[in-house]
C-alpha cells in the first residue's frame, strides 16, 4: 500500500476534518461558512482525484490527442463543475442570513445570539 497512491485521499480527509472542526468549535457564523467552504472544496478534491488516470489527459478531443489516447474520467468533472457554482450560491444565502442575524441581534457570535434570544 504505497502512501503516494493514497496521499490525495488523506489530504482530502484532512481538509474535510479541518472544515468540520471549524464548524464545530468556532462560534462566529462567518467563520463557520468559511469552514463549510473548506469542507466542500475537500469533497471536490476527493471526486476529482478519483477520476484521474495515470498517463491520461483531459477528456477533450483535439489535434493534440492521438487516436488511441487514454482520457481521464469525465464524469466526476461534470458533477463538480456544477457543484462549485451551487456551493457559491448557498454560501451567498448563508451570508445573507448572517447579515440579517447581525442586524437583528447585533452580533454573529453563536453563544451571544443564544443569550439574547432566550432573554426576549
Amino acid at each position: 500500500m504505497n502512501w503516494v497512491g493514497h496521499y490525495n485521499y488523506w489530504v482530502a480527509i484532512f481538509l474535510m476534518m479541518s472544515g468540520f472542526y471549524v464548524v464545530i468549535t468556532r462560534g462566529n457564523l462567518i467563520k463557520k461558512l468559511i469552514g463549510l467552504n473548506v469542507f466542500s472544496t475537500s469533497v471536490f478534491l476527493l471526486y476529482i482525484s478519483m477520476g484521474k488516470i495515470n498517463g491520461g489527459t483531459a477528456p477533450i478531443y483535439s489535434e493534440h490527442t492521438l487516436p488511441g489516447q487514454l482520457f481521464s474520467n469525465p464524469v466526476p468533472h461534470v458533477l463538480i463543475l456544477t457543484a462549485i457554482v451551487v456551493g457559491v450560491a448557498t454560501t451567498a444565502v448563508g451570508l445573507a442570513l448572517t447579515v440579517r442575524i447581525n442586524e437583528r441581534y447585533g452580533t454573529i457570535e453563536e453563544d451571544e445570539i443564544r443569550a439574547k434570544d432566550d432573554s426576549l
Binding site: V4, Y9, L95, L120
Partner: protein
C-alpha cells in the same frame, strides 16, 4: 513528474488550511481562502480536470471573496476567543478522520487505470460521445446532453438561491430599516441617506478607472468567447456567466454600486434570470413538441448531430444568462445592504 507537482500543491493546501482554522481575524481568513481556491484550481489542472479548474478560477477569485468581504463589512471583522476548550471536538474530529482514513485503505491507488469507476460509464461517454453528441469536449457533451436534466436541476438550484437572497436582503436600502418584533422595537439600522454619505474620492482612483475602462469590455468579450467555445475547449455556460458577472463587479468596484445598479438594473437582472431558465426549459419542451423526449436534442434539426449541436448551444446560453443574472443579483443584495457604497 506531475505527481511531484501534485504532492507539493497538496502540502501547500494543508498548510493554508491549518492557518485558516486558527486565525482569528476574519479578514485574513478570507484572504487565505482566496489562496486556498488558487491552489485547488492549479491542483485540478494537474489532475486533468480542466473545466473544473476553469470554474474554480472564475468563482474563487471573482465571486466568493467579494461576497464574503461584503458580508464581513456589515458585521464585525474579528472573531471572539472561543470560550470552551476544544479538546472534545478535537477528539471527535480525530476519531472520524481515523475511520475515514481506514475507509480509504481499500480505495484504488491514485490514478490506476483499472479502478472500478473507469470501466463502465466513462468508457461509453468517451467512445460514443463524438458519434452521438458531437462536441470534442466530452465534459460539455456529458453536462449538456447526457445529463441535461440534472443540469436543469442545478440551474434551478442557483435560481432559487438568488430568489432566497433577494427575499432576505432585497435591493431597497434607502428607507429606515425598523424591526418590529413582539412590539418591542429591537434594532433600527440608521440608514445614512446617500447624499450625505462621504463621496468616495473617485477622483484619485484615476489609474483604476482608466485600466477598468480598458479591461471591462475585454473581460466581457472573453466571457462570450468562453460561452461559445465550450464545445471545443474548456468553458461553457457556468464559467461564462461567472466571468461576465465579475466584469460587472469590476465596474462596481471602480465606480460605486449605485452607478453599477443604474447600468445593470435589478429589474433587468430579474428578467434575465427568468429568461435563462425559460430558455433551458423551453428547449426541452420544444424537443417534446417535435416528437422527441424532454431535452432530446436529436429532433431539433434535420440530422441528429446538428440537433445536438444546436440544443447544447441553446441550453449553455440559458445557463450562462441565469448564472450571470443570479451572481450580479447576489452582489447587489450583499454589497448594497447598508446604503453605503461598496
Amino acid at each position: 513528474m506531475e505527481a511531484a507537482v501534485d504532492i507539493v500543491l497538496l502540502s501547500l493546501l494543508c498548510v493554508t488550511v491549518i492557518v485558516i482554522v486558527y486565525i482569528r481575524k476574519l479578514f485574513c481568513a478570507i484572504m487565505l481562502l482566496g489562496i486556498f481556491s488558487l491552489i485547488s484550481a492549479s491542483l485540478f489542472i494537474t489532475m486533468d480536470a480542466v473545466d473544473v479548474a476553469f470554474t474554480e478560477a472564475a468563482v474563487g477569485t471573482g465571486i466568493s471573496s467579494i461576497l464574503l468581504l461584503s458580508a464581513l463589512s456589515l458585521t464585525h471583522t474579528r472573531e471572539r476567543r472561543p470560550a470552551h476548550q476544544p479538546y472534545v471536538a478535537l477528539m471527535v474530529v480525530a476519531v472520524t478522520g481515523a475511520v475515514l482514513v481506514y475507509g480509504t485503505m481499500d480505495l484504488p491507488a491514485f490514478g490506476d487505470p483499472d479502478s472500478a469507476i473507469h470501466r463502465h460509464m466513462a468508457v461509453r461517454f468517451i467512445v460514443d460521445s463524438p458519434q452521438e453528441v458531437g462536441p470534442p469536449n466530452v465534459v460539455t457533451s456529458v453536462l449538456a446532453s447526457y445529463r441535461g436534466y440534472d443540469t436543469l436541476g442545478e440551474t434551478t438550484v442557483i435560481f432559487t438561491a438568488g430568489i432566497a437572497l433577494v427575499a432576505l436582503l432585497g435591493f431597497n436600502r434607502r428607507k429606515e430599516f425598523k424591526v418590529r418584533l413582539s412590539g418591542a422595537q429591537i434594532t433600527s439600522v440608521p440608514e445614512v441617506p446617500l447624499s450625505s454619505a462621504p463621496k468616495v474620492p473617485n477622483a484619485d482612483y484615476l489609474v483604476l478607472r482608466i485600466v477598468g475602462k480598458m479591461f471591462i469590455p475585454l473581460i466581457m468579450l472573453f466571457a462570450l468567447y468562453v460561452q461559445f467555445h465550450g464545445d471545443y475547449g474548456p468553458g461553457g455556460g457556468f464559467q461564462a456567466g461567472v466571468i461576465f458577472a465579475s466584469a460587472i463587479m469590476l465596474y462596481a468596484m471602480i465606480f460605486n454600486v449605485e452607478t453599477a445598479m443604474r447600468v445593470v438594473t435589478p429589474t433587468a437582472l430579474r428578467l434575465l434570470a427568468v429568461l435563462g431558465l425559460l430558455l433551458y426549459g423551453g428547449v426541452g419542451v420544444l424537443c417534446m413538441l417535435l416528437g422527441g423526449n424532454f431535452l432530446d436534442y436529436n429532433v431539433l434539426a434535420h440530422a441528429p448531430l446538428h440537433g445536438q449541436h444546436l440544443g447544447i448551444f441553446l441550453i449553455e446560453l440559458g445557463v450562462g444568462i441565469t448564472v450571470f443574472a443570479i451572481m450580479v443579483t447576489m452582489f447587489y443584495a450583499l454589497g448594497n445592504r447598508s446604503g453605503r457604497s461598496v
